[in-house]
Symmetry: C2
Subunit: 248 residues, 2 copies
Amino acid sequence: MPQTHPLNQEISLSVIKTACSNCNLRELCLPYGLSLEELERLDDLVSTRRRIKRGDHLYRAGEVFDAIYAIRSGFFKTDVLLEDGRDQVTGFQMAGELLGLDGISTEHHTCNAIALEDSEICAIPFSRLEVLSREIHTLQHHFHKVMSREIVRDHGVMMLLGTMRAEERLAAFLLNLSQRFTARGFSHAEFYLRMTREEIGSYLGLKLETVSRAFSRFQEEGHIAVQQKHIRILNVNGLKALMNHRAA
Amino acid sequence: MPQTHPLNQEISLSVIKTACSNCNLRELCLPYGLSLEELERLDDLVSTRRRIKRGDHLYRAGEVFDAIYAIRSGFFKTDVLLEDGRDQVTGFQMAGELLGLDGISTEHHTCNAIALEDSEICAIPFSRLEVLSREIHTLQHHFHKVMSREIVRDHGVMMLLGTMRAEERLAAFLLNLSQRFTARGFSHAEFYLRMTREEIGSYLGLKLETVSRAFSRFQEEGHIAVQQKHIRILNVNGLKALMNHRAA
DNA sequence: GTGTTCGCTTGATCCAAGTCAACCATAAAT
DNA sequence: ATTTATGGTTGACTTGGATCAAGCGAACAC
């Protein structure tokens, strides 16, 4: 008779939900490739789940680092601040992706992580992750891969910022989002942007007006349909063509 | 009577030189923080040393990844290539720094590593490094820090490319080089650039002409003295001031 | 409802860096 | 010693994206 004990039910549900072993993101997230038995050991470690409301910080630059975070649901941005007040968005993160890897280096976070919609995260105490990954080879190797993937991603962004024109950057950005939504089982052709034009611009090294103009231009040329934050991709190949446009 | 056996002498010297335990870079490189006994175990692993001549590749994008490389002496650049021929330098690496971390992700290298002067590297077979870092906590943790530091560095470059003007970028670049030379016991105020203006420009998202003009301007303003690749920093604070110049 | 705020779009103008081009310096090749 | 190649500097001009500015539409508060 669950109805008579709503609170207990809530708790047990939450305990079930928090386990990696039955998280539907396990193929994207840290548990990737682990056996059932290994998964259960990871479950012990990933005990704390936390809700972060839209606009709130998951962590701030300068805070002591002691855990990395897996996004269970929702959407985040990370940004870095320069002393003189300038800032830059360094990435957008969605379900199944890890946050906080930058903090390992100095044992302090070096950027801010802010929820762009109400989100849920799993905290993974880092020292315990190191212990466990000494015991589970697969986990160790996968964690190394995740860190390395982050480095490769960053190189992509450097390429984008260093060599691409405004429209190429935005095309690359949209294609990347589309691909990541697809990997999570959502439509590749239709999605809502969680971030503002200004945040997109900050990430792409452009001003919000330039981002807005590029959206308008893509729409005029029939590549996409834009209505506020709702994006429909009408011509993927058109967008891809925009990217390889100008040779060295 | 060493003179009578020059070849043997050479070999034994080289064996001695190859050990992490008496490498003068151990405080900068992977061995950082290890005990003597742990160091000796790392020595077993880092058995292969290789010379790379100026202009030669240490590895190429697409090659299978199986080792990371510690720079023993010399200077490298890494670059990524886009399908359409555009390329970008993603970093410059000097003695004590690690190369190849990007390859862990896909088990293939994703960039090219090219020696900018005759160099020597130590190859560290990655699977053996994983084994050893399961056994030596300090090594495991330090390796994680090194990877994380690379991510933080990349964020810095993103900031540079996304929000800074040409002269700020070059000032940041020179200050960074100076600081890294200092950490290696060289002069902080005087050094030779190992890369061309074009390579600097590629790294900073600028054209070589812009880099050249910025050098000239710094010289006019008395911040540095430039003679080809020989740089003397005359006014560190002047350069630093250039960076924080314009607020958001 | 009506005002207020925030995010977005669009136009007009400006400027930092790119492009094109000529020339110079150093080092290697003959 | 002279040629050739490579890398660097400088000038004139162009341009893509920034800046400044006005106005619009959706969401929310009252």
